[in-house]
């Protein structure tokens, strides 16, 4: 069974939002004046409004603006740092990948060179020379120098150096660009 007062209580929120017609408004106001139950419902609905009238506008602390500026400066700095780290990480990853590829690709060739008679003889000479202490350092230096010269003649090495220099130059340009794009925040005092 429908409570006859429900038709009034259901209209109360609309009444508060000025959503009723003029006739409905008059009818409801007349009913509110007579019905204690609906008046109690109305009071409950308008409790928020009464509290709202007494509520002041919340005021931020006096240093709110400088705090926002400082926080913004930190956030921008962190973004720049993260971008820089991302670029550096990317460059290092690319260099590491290229060098790994180079080592794996040329590993067999280098191993073949190490297994030649020249390489074995040099180290045999070194071992023989251990007895002659004065010649040891010179022999080792000669072996290392020989190895270095052979490595330098390896064409892939020059490729690695060129790619590495190019990537570092690219990173420097990107870092300069990001610094230019985000000027430091001025903090008002």
């Amino acid at each position: 069974m429908v409570n006859p007062m429900d038709k009034f209580t259901e209209k109360l929120p609309q009444y508060l939002e000025d959503g009723l017609t003029e006739i409905e408004t008059i009818e409801l106001e007349r009913h509110l004046a007579e019905c204690a139950v609906c008046q109690a419902e109305f009071d409950a609905l308008t409790r928020f409004d009464r509290l709202l009238e007494a509520a002041p506008m919340a005021v931020p602390p006096p240093n709110f603006v400088p705090m926002v500026e400082a926080k913004l400066a930190r956030r921008l700095h962190r973004r720049r740092t993260m971008l820089g780290m991302l670029v550096i990480g990317s460059v290092l990853a690319v260099i590491a990948a290229i060098l790994t590829w180079g080592v794996l690709a040329s590993g067999a060739e280098l191993w073949q060179w190490a297994a030649t008679d020249d390489f074995g003889r040099v180290w045999f000479d070194v071992l023989n020379s251990i007895i002659a202490v004065g010649a040891v350092i010179g022999k080792i230096a000669a072996v290392l120098f020989d190895a270095l010269v052979k490595l330098m003649r390896h064409p892939a090495l020059w490729g690695y150096v060129s790619v590495g220099v190019g990537l570092v130059w690219l990173w420097v340009q990107l870092f300069r660009w990001t610094n230019f794009a985000h000027q430091p925040v001025e903090i008002s005092r």
Binding site: P13, Q14, L16, E17, E41, A44, L45, R47, F48, D49, R50, L51, L52, E53, A54, A55, P56, M57, A58, V59, P60, P61, F64, V65, M67, V68, E69, K71, L72, R75, A181, H182, Q183, V185, E186, S188
Partner: protein
């Protein structure tokens, strides 16, 4: 509310487009002018949404920072205050939803939950100004975050249905429905509070 500040003052409204344009080009001084003008309404939205000054301060700062970082996406055809409130309310809604994930159901709580415990040294209780504010926030706290956002924008900042709908990325009819339901929910809360106060032999505070 007697001290409602919803939009910028008239002189600022003339300068506002210039500040926005300059801020979009990376001028932080111009952005600081916008922060100065809107700090009070944005802080108030966050305070009424979150219920305590500490969280509100943090949220308002975050809202301004997000606004600066997203300033390039701002459409000049849109009202800046609505766009700014949109960022602030969405941030608060997300924050409240994350908080609610950790809470138990409201209905599972005992009836004396409405009575502020003045003995407890909780920061949010210590910071609220008076009993009216406590009760106001107790009522707002019963609402889902998106309902609360609509109520705060409508009644604290006197925004139109269109502006609220734009700020909350929804329709006018959805906003009207939320405000209607919010009012009923708050009324039920108020009645429960009176009943629990009466059961404990206390007199409900008169408005």
């Amino acid at each position: 509310m007697s001290d409602t500040v919803a939009t910028a003052d008239t002189p600022n409204q003339k300068l506002e487009p210039q500040w926005i344009a300059r801020a979009q080009q990376g001028d932080q001084t111009a952005f600081s002018q916008l922060v100065t003008v809107y700090q009070k309404p944005v802080f108030n939205v966050c305070y009424r949404m979150l219920g305590n000054r500490g969280d509100a301060e943090d949220a308002a700062q975050e809202a301004f920072i997000r606004a600066y970082l997203k300033l390039e996406t701002y459409d000049a055809a849109r009202k800046f205050s609505s766009w700014l409130f949109s960022i602030a309310t969405h941030y608060c809604i997300d924050r409240l939803r994350k908080q609610r994930m950790k809470l138990v159901s409201w209905d599972d709580l005992p009836p004396w939950r409405w009575i502020p415990d003045k003995e407890a040294k909780q920061p949010e209780v210590a910071l609220v100004e008076d009993e009216n504010t406590l009760e106001l926030h107790a009522l707002l706290n019963t609402l889902p975050p998106d309902y609360r956002a609509a109520v705060v924008l409508k009644y604290f900042h006197e925004m139109s249905y269109d502006e609220i709908a734009e700020s909350l990325d929804t329709t006018v009819s959805a906003i009207k429905s939320k405000l209607f339901r919010a009012r009923k929910m708050m009324a039920q809360t108020a009645k429960k509070k009176e009943a629990s106060s009466a059961a404990m032999g206390m007199t409900a505070p008169l408005m």
